[in-house]
Amino acid sequence: MDRKECVSGDWVQIERVILEAGSRAPGVPEDTAALPMIARMKGFAVHDAVVGEPLEVESTIGRRLAGTLVAVLPTYSHDFGAPVPELTRAGLQARARVRGEGG
């Protein structure tokens, strides 16, 4: 359901280059200095656009922000991850010790 275009009023994510590579602060590590500094913001689209095109949005506090469209209805993808049995085992071992079940 990855939509590539938005219509006015859609909740979207935009991005904007804040500092171009080469215009970064003095003293940043080489790998960082070779990259642009980018900001991503979300809001309601104020006109139609296709991903990659310029777009203005209205933020949750009513400010107009300009950038290019990155995503329509951007999804939170963070989660609890995979189980970590090493951690579970260590926890149960400690519990057994406190309960006097050996160890």
């Binding site: 804040i18 960082t32 642009p36 506090i61 939170y76 989660d79 991850g81 149960l92």
Partner: protein
């Protein structure tokens, strides 16, 4: 405002004026010569007594968090501590605050100040829980909130913990700016302050620090009430320094003369804070040495002219733990004592396990905070992300771990250690940094006295250090 140059150098040159406008506080009033300043006068600028601060916070549902005895973790420590040793471990459950961390205390006073001064909104640059706290407090008080977060590496991938904290800020209605790695976050925040005229709700203003004093005070009250003694030790997760500064000031106001103040950070030495490649190779986004050491040795690197967080004035010990030890402590807190909390806030808890074993059984050691947990802010989320980013996760002796390359989860509690980090080394760095920043050739009595306060040592320590660094000074009478 229109037509002003917006490039990095130009904006940074205007920083002092922008900050002054965005705080309504003139820091030059506290200056005493080229190096020293009157710290207590700056703190008095807050204008609320501790009791008044408590009232403000209570009205907002902030503070008065439970002080929980961790009976099973205490029993676990006693299973290996020498005979007669193994202090009671208590946890100040700060996750019970409105936004899920002690940062609500800091945000409450910042927003109070912004509101009183007539600002329409507040801005902070933070990847941490403070963003959520500020957004929550701003929502309560009807102010706009903008949060600037360092989130992405150049692949536009973000740590699950930071992504979650961004989501939380958005949940409270804040406008969130998510940035790629780099210290120019500060430059961007200055631009936003200039564009909006909002309040700079920095973590490091006197308000941001005074708000934490209630936490130290509540710990003293709670321990006295339940155990009829002062806390023997308080362990504080240390990053920017506000936590240890505010908590200790609160304990001191409660009259806890003999309580030992121990700072704890996660050791991520070797990883560059501003490096794109290193950014996602650490599993902690705060509470680590990447903030803890630089902010202790040069507090005024912050986004205000004079940082109200001055950790070396307050910490009496500084101990480091490994990432795997903190995940382990987080697991134990859940499985043994029935409290599922976020990992970063459990840094002090990990350190408290070996520290409790050093104290007698009748003693009380307080772990001074916990934070909320959830998707992203959880050991399984963090360890999955670490594995995806090429970091090995295994069990064994955490001493063998290498930040950025491996995370080693202990198999037994005895493998958790609190490793001392030399305070005198940090004090020496602070003195070196203070002299370099003030750009003075010869220090006088005023500077020596100031550096003694800054390092919590006497003037003999300061002059001895200056001599070892080859810095000239004069002891005569004050000019």
């Amino acid at each position: 405002m229109m037509g002003r140059a917006r490039d990095y150098q130009s904006v940074m040159q205007r920083r002092e004026d922008i900050i002054k406008e965005a705080l309504g506080l003139d820091y030059s009033r506290f200056a005493r010569g080229d190096m020293a300043f009157d710290y207590e006068a700056m703190m008095r600028e807050v204008g609320y007594s501790l009791e008044e601060t408590r009232t403000i916070q209570r009205d907002l549902g902030v503070g008065d968090t439970p002080l929980v005895e961790l009976r099973n973790l205490t029993a676990l420590v006693r299973s290996f501590a020498p005979s007669g040793m193994g202090a009671r471990i208590l946890l100040k459950d700060e996750a019970a605050n409105p936004s899920g961390s002690f940062k609500a205390r800091r945000a409450a006073l910042s927003v109070q100040r912004a509101k009183e001064q007539g600002y329409r909104g507040v801005i902070a640059a933070t990847s941490g829980n403070y963003g959520a706290a500020l957004a929550s407090q701003a929502a309560m008080r009807g102010l706009d909130c903008i949060i600037v977060q360092e989130v992405f590496d150049s692949r536009m991938i973000g740590q699950p913990e930071i992504v979650e904290k961004g989501r939380k800020c958005e949940a409270y209605g804040a406008e969130v700016h998510q940035m790629t790695v780099g210290p120019e976050l500060f430059y961007y925040m200055l631009l936003l302050l200039e564009d909006t005229g909002y309040f700079n709700a920095s973590l490091y203003t006197p308000y941001g620090i005074a708000g934490i004093e209630t936490l130290g005070y509540e710990i003293a009250e709670g321990v006295r009430e339940k155990y009829d003694r002062d806390p023997d030790a308080v362990v504080v997760t240390h990053a920017g320094g506000g936590n240890i500064t505010g908590t200790t000031r609160g304990l001191m106001q409660a009259g806890c003369q003999d309580t030992q103040i121990i700072a704890a950070s996660v050791d991520i030495s070797g990883l560059h804070m501003a490096g794109d490649a290193d950014f996602n190779r650490k599993s902690f986004t705060t509470g680590h040495t990447g903030f803890g050491i630089p902010f202790a040795t040069w507090p005024d690197r912050a986004d205000v002219p004079r940082n109200a967080a001055r950790p070396l004035r307050y910490m009496q010990r500084y101990v480091l733990v490994h990432q795997g030890e903190v995940f382990y402590a987080t697991e134990l807190l859940s499985v043994l004592d029935g409290l599922e909390r976020g990992p970063a806030g459990n840094t002090a808890l990990a350190a408290a396990l070996p520290l409790a074993a050093e104290l007698p059984r009748e003693a009380v050691i307080v772990v001074q905070e916990s934070e909320y947990t959830g998707a992203g802010k959880h050991p399984t989320a963090q360890l999955t992300f670490a594995r995806e980013n090429g970091v090995a996760v295994r069990t064994g002796d955490p001493a063998d771990s290498v930040p950025g390359a491996s995370i080693v989860i202990p198999e037994e509690v005895e493998q958790v250690r609190a490793r001392e980090h030399s305070l005198d080394r940090m004090r020496t760095s602070l003195i070196r940094n203070a002299v370099a920043f003030a750009d003075m050739d010869v220090l006088g009595p005023q500077e020596i006295r100031f550096l003694a306060e800054e390092t919590a040592r006497d003037e003999t320590f300061v002059t001895g250090t200056l001599e070892s660094l080859g810095i000239r000074y004069e002891m005569g009478s004050d000019a």
